[in-house]
């Protein structure tokens, strides 16, 4: 069947099997390897991408179900000139990754949390932990991921203040 979607603002269209999972469509058809493929049971959150701005687990979504929708992957986070998104810079600054396997899902989820929060610099630790609870990280103990999300929120608030 023909499946068409926008990924990071670019149009993709492929003839695929209906059983094809979105994560495989992104990695193999669109050839965007930033989205990782982990537990395959919707537990680990490594495959999280945004569909129409909301985080979803792409291993538990058929590519066909994303037909006509807008997908954002980790490759869609940086600015056009390659400047890292503040959430990416935050992971860099706060050493929020070691092996990097969970990182794309965590960064996309963190981006969504900051975007939807009415007052990102005032996010409670509980709110951040709850938001990323759909993802598993075996390296960081989560503390540095929480710091990275906070770093990004503070950076963006400062940048907005300077403008």
């Amino acid at each position: 069947m023909l499946v068409s979607m926008s990924i990071n603002g670019q149009a993709y269209s492929h003839d695929v099997e209906p059983r094809l999972l979105l994560v495989h469509y992104i990695r193999e058809n669109a050839e965007l390897h930033g989205t990782h493929w982990g537990c395959d049971t919707s537990n680990c959150g490594i495959c999280v991408v945004l569909m129409d701005g909301e985080p979803i687990k792409s291993c538990t979504t058929l590519a066909a179900m994303a037909d006509g929708h807008e997908i954002t992957t980790v490759e869609g986070l940086p600015a056009a000139d390659g400047t890292l998104d503040p959430i990416q810079q935050g992971f860099h600054e706060m050493h929020a990754l070691q092996c990097g396997f969970c990182t794309p899902g965590m960064m996309v989820t963190g981006r969504w949390l900051i975007d939807k929060h009415p007052n990102p610099t005032q996010m409670t630790e509980h709110e951040i932990r709850e938001a990323i609870s759909g993802g598993l990280c075996r390296c960081t103990g989560y503390n540095n991921i929480i710091k990275a999300i906070r770093w990004a929120a503070a950076y963006e608030a400062n940048a907005a203040g300077r403008r």
């Binding site: 069947m1 099997e17 209906p18 059983r19 094809l20 999972l21 495989h24 493929w37 395959d40 049971t41 919707s42 537990n43 959150g45 999280v48 909301e54 985080p55 979803i56 687990k57 538990t60 979504t61 058929l62 066909a64 179900m65 989820t109 709850e130 938001a131 609870s133 759909g134 993802g135």
Partner: protein, 292 residues
Amino acid sequence: MAMQTPAPCDYSRATSVDDAIGQLQALGGNARILAGGHSLIPMMKLRLSNPGHLIDINPLEPELNYIRQQGNEIHIGAMTRHRNILESDLLARTFPHIFAEAEAVLADPVVRNRGTIGGSLCQSDPAEDLSGVVVALKGIAVVRGPDGERTIDMDEFHVGPYMTAVQSTEMLTEVRFPIQAGHGSAHEKVERRAGDFAIVAASAALSIQGGTIRSAGVACSAVGPTTMHIKRAEEMLIGKAPSEQLFAQAGEMAKADVEPSNDGRGPADYKRHVAGVLTTRALSRAAATALR
């Protein structure tokens, strides 16, 4: 390709509920309705479900995602996502606080963005949280088929593990809940880690008027072949004044009436004990809310 990929199947989208039912009829029992997919797709990966055809009802979300009051009932559309239920002010006001408590511990926020109430009920997983809530609140399932609409009591809805009374040419469209004065409710869950299925969960709802329990709903999850409806405790509670002693007695009944099995989540006698404790706790908190 990878091991965990569903078996080949066909796929189509529904344009309306009637269209979905028409497709189900035409495909003669070989098709399954696909909503959020967060139960069905994992089941297909494991080959526990092998539909030849999926009918995607996500295009029907505008028609089937709603939470509204109609007379003395709350109606929830089958495509209402877990997140919508968690965040609903109407549900928080009408049924404090069972929906929010159960949804907050059901999977994780990303899964709750996609999973639906209809999918939860039709999956009929005995360990699933929302089914216990629906049983405790005496929810009624509305099912539509080629011959029109019928309603199914929750006692008849869940036939067994992963089996419901919904026929192969029917689909669940709505769940209805009677509104009761003096309502208080609670959901208690013990799990191995955040977002996991329950080791045991208990859902309790009470209507207390003039210091007397007028109606009661008690259900336990993950301790039997389906969500366990603890009717004996409900009957015992009605007409009595709420007290800790009474709720401890109801907990003893739940402990006696559940049918847990030994598995990776724990031994049966442990689960039986926890079912009793959680039932008592849920009832105590439900009563405190009702009497506020």
